[in-house]
Amino acid sequence: MEVKGTIYRIAGPVVTVIDVPTKMYDVVKVGNEGLMGEVIGIEGDKSTIQVYEDTSGIAPGEPVENTGMPLSVELGPGLLESIYDGIQRPLPVLMGLMKSDFIERGVTAPGLDRDREWEFTPVVIKGTEVKGGDIIGTVPETHIEHKIMVPPTVSGVVDDIKSGSFKVTDCICTLADGTELTLMQKWPVRAPRPSRKKLMPNIPLITGQRILDGLFPLAKGGTAAIPGPFGSGKTVTQQQLAKWSDTEIVVYIGCGERGNEMADVLNEFPELADPKTGKPLMERTVLIANTSNMPVAAREASVYTGMAIAEYYRDMGYDVSLMADSTSRWAEAMREISSRLEEMPGEEGYPAYLSARLSEFYERAGRVDTLSGLTGSVTVIGAVSPPGGDFSEPVTQNTLRIVKVFWALDAKLSQKRHFPSINWLESYSLYLDLLSDWYNEQVSPKWLQLRGDAMEILQKESELQEIVQLVGSDALPEDQQLTMEVARMLREIFLQQNAFHPVDTFCTMEHQYGLIKAILKYSDMANNALESGVPLEDIISVKSKDDLSKVKFEKELDEELDKVLATMDNEFETMREAVK
């Protein structure tokens, strides 16, 4: 059903149209060029529309068409390896269609390639009763098996099911009531896809980043925020997460991001090998790039587009991680549109519904029993960019009320070239208790104890640091000087991690455990030695301590670590002998 009306008023991305019946969030084609927009307000016979493209030159009186459909994404094989803008237009395809390196107006392209054929293998037979979310067959999308599901709102008995090569719009299955199913389904982005039940997040998301896995873990299906003032290494941290976290699918949303950084992601991802399969990382990635200078309304939509895609793969039983960089830019898009609508502003000009929108979004994360009885998860990692590094601003505060993990990036650390520059005193994770069983079984029953000890030493260091600031480090008693030294080791050996070093870039839980155990072993032995009268200088200058700082760069980490620990034993033995 398409109904036509005309444009009444244009002010930037907000267009008012008249004489066309609309529902909230209907997608509308605006003007002679048919620019895509979405209904965000209705008043009398006028509807307010946010337009996803530049409105320059559009005049009142031009036609408007209502598609009668809410903003939807196309879900089906072909999503992986794609690079979309905020409203699921494939950027490489747009480049071809527009014959330009710039984004021109009024060009649309379907999210999924209509011509590409996929090899479909059914897993149900005629007569099977299917309901929403059930898997009727599979398609090898990349090395990831794409499961073709019955749309959540459909159910019935399979009357006919095909097998072979099909395009996404071909009918592959007919139900008894005549409903035809295709490889592709559509889903309105702003509505969460249904699942059977939410599960407790009690499995950690392994990222290979020591400070994250080791000190402030995130659970699969959990939520985390990375706030960081600019220049604090947020982007590198997020890219590391995208590369290394142990999820099958990665959805990366560059929301209001820099063009050059996005270009870097777009170029780097296809070249990266997935550490587990050795295949290109892109084969399990969907990228959404809506840079800061692309239309603001599409930026607002981009996080929902990404979320709907993430939920779709979750429903197939996969673990999905969704990175949104940055949710602040998304909130700013909301603010900008709200101010064009002349809505009454809340805090700092943000709309009063900011908090509600943020919580709705993060609540779509979770580990779930899917409709078809599988288990899948969407883990959301949202970056926040607090203006001026001021964490008391509304976006950060509203986000912190929702998320369970906070990785506090610190510009001071990055100035000191401490990477990843996550502040270990300000960060937190509320998942530790939920994950304790997993650690006890999978890493070591001692892990949480060691982690606690390490945190305590770091905490002590910050207290001692205040004293040192006043009186200098030499004025401290020797045991406290030793604590400072151990804390320094924890910082430089365990917490610092070089994202660009081939080995150090990823550290398994096992190796993390080994490293932290070694540092704390040094701490114990050093304290004992100090008590038995070994001079502090000797303890601090043992060779094995310096060696320990290099172990993390070694390919054969276990062997090297054993060697260092053996040397350490010997050295301390010798020192003790000497003072006897």
């Binding site: 030159g57 005049a59 009142p60 710039f102 900008e336 203006p387 070239r417 200098g472």
Partner: protein
């Protein structure tokens, strides 16, 4: 083209016009005054019966009987290769007494957003000849790297030095400078012009000048004109274009002024809520495109009100630009030129522009080590103020000395001193050699063995 004599209201830089024909958003508007002069404006809001127009040359002298013509097209810049060597006003008219540009093309000044997929990640090292930039905050082609400065600091000298010295070592490709002055004083403008003329840089430069006494609204289009010219030279004539925009703070003030005139809901400190998006449509026009030879590199200058880096202007800029070069008042007071404080400075694209085959394999390690050592030395200064130098350990004293030497030898250089990257790194190594070798924890042993002066001497 119909002329309307239906101005309903004049309010600050805005006029409200009643009309009958449809008028497009962002359309260019001519307003004819009673004395025969013409002003230009742009449509901000258009509806069935009324149009809001912002007038670039200010609304002085306007009254309700002025004629208003809507051109039916957005603002365009006539472009041609002859733009090089020209000095134009903030709205694109010749200021140098030369003829009007005979256009090869007319391009919409708002520019379209570059398709992120068409972008090529910037990676070509640009040598500016300034150690603190080349060595520790490396600039690459296609980057936008602003100078965050304050009033009374020599940011203009730095910008000029960069415009003069910038080159890609070993490359002979065509190079141009586009300069846009927004709300700068006549004196500043003359300094720039004289330097351009003295060094012969004007021949390969296009200059747009909106001076302090020119209408503020015009400032909103000046950078867009400049970038349109830059994109044209880069993508149609395969040139590497360095765009110097000064001063973005004046631009933001004009933006705020317009927002207030339109009675918009203000954001932080009265600046409009869309300032981030607006800035992005300027900064994001830097870049390199796959398969094209040219590039646009931006060097915007902005003065931080009250030297406050958290002020909305530097803050929002920092989220879009790829780093920042921070000019420090403390260093300036110490008499050091260029007073660039490397600690809060950053080049986000540095890592893709340095290393083997680009600069030198030890570049990153040297830079990281110097950052760490200088940061530590700088921290110790605070401690020394309390406890005195004597209370420091031998090690700490070394770092303290390092910080002083770093400022004196690495940061300080002459206004015409063009250091190549090898010289810069050499100075770096000589400074690092003053520290105990065991403290060089950011440099691996192989690099130390190869480059450390103590080892090379053997």
């Amino acid at each position: 083209m119909k002329e309307y004599k239906t101005i309903n209201e004049v309010s600050g830089p805005l006029i409200f016009v009643e009309k009958t024909e449809p008028v497009g958003y962002n359309e260019l508007v001519y307003i004819k005054l009673e004395d025969g002069t013409t002003k230009r404006g742009q449509v901000l809001d258009t509806s069935k019966d009324i149009v809001v127009v912002q007038v670039f040359e200010g609304t002085g002298g306007l009254n309700r009987s002025c004629g208003v013509r809507f051109t039916g097209e957005t603002i365009k810049l006539p472009v041609s290769i002859d733009l090089l060597g020209r000095i134009l006003s903030g709205s694109g008219d010749p200021l140098d007494g030369g003829p009007r540009i005979v256009p090869e093309d007319r391009i919409d000044i708002n520019g379209a957003a570059m398709n992120p997929y068409a972008r090529k990640p910037p990676e070509d090292f640009i040598q500016t000849g300034i150690s603190t930039i080349d060595g520790m905050n490396t600039l690459v082609r296609g980057q936008k790297l602003p100078i965050f400065s304050g009033s009374g600091l020599p940011h203009n000298d730095i910008a000029l030095q960069i415009a003069r010295q910038a080159k890609v070592p070993g490359s002979e490709e065509a190079f141009a400078v586009v300069f846009a002055g927004m709300g700068i004083t006549n004196e500043e403008a003359q300094t720039f012009m004289q330097d351009f003329e003295r060094t012969g840089a004007l021949e390969r430069a296009v200059v747009f000048l909106n001076l302090a006494d020119d209408p503020a609204v015009e400032r909103l289009i000046t950078p867009r004109l400049a970038l349109t010219a830059a994109e044209y030279l880069a993508y149609e004539h395969n040139m590497h274009v360095l765009v110097v925009l000064t001063d973005l703070t004046n631009y933001a003030e004009a933006l705020r002024q317009m927002g207030a005139a339109r009675e918009e809901v203000p954001g932080r400190r009265g600046y409009p809520g869309y300032m981030y998006t607006d800035f992005s449509t300027i900064y994001e026009r830097a870049g390199v495109i796959k398969g094209r030879k040219g590039s646009v590199t931006q060097f915007p200058i902005l003065s931080m009100p009250g030297d406050d880096i958290t002020h909305p202007i530097p803050d929002l800029s920092g989220y879009i630009t790829e780093g920042q070069i921070v000019v420090s008042r403390d260093l300036h007071r110490k008499g050091i030129y260029p007073p660039i404080n490397v600690l809060p400075s950053l080049s986000r694209l540095m890592n893709s522009g340095i290393g083997e085959g680009k600069t030198r394999e030890d570049h990153k390690a040297v830079s990281d080590q110097m950052y760490a050592a200088y940061a530590e030395g700088n921290d110790l200064r605070g401690l020394v103020a309390i406890v005195g130098k004597e209370a420091l350990s031998e090690r700490d004293r070394k770092f303290l000395e390092f910080a002083d030497m770093f400022e004196d030898q690495f940061v300080r250089q002459g206004r015409d001193e063009d250091r190549d990257i090898d010289t810069t790194l050499e100075i770096g190594w000589n400074l690092l050699a003053e520290l105990p070798e065991a403290q060089l924890t950011r440099i691996d042993s192989e690099t130390i063995a190869k480059y450390h002066p103590a080892h090379r001497a053997k």
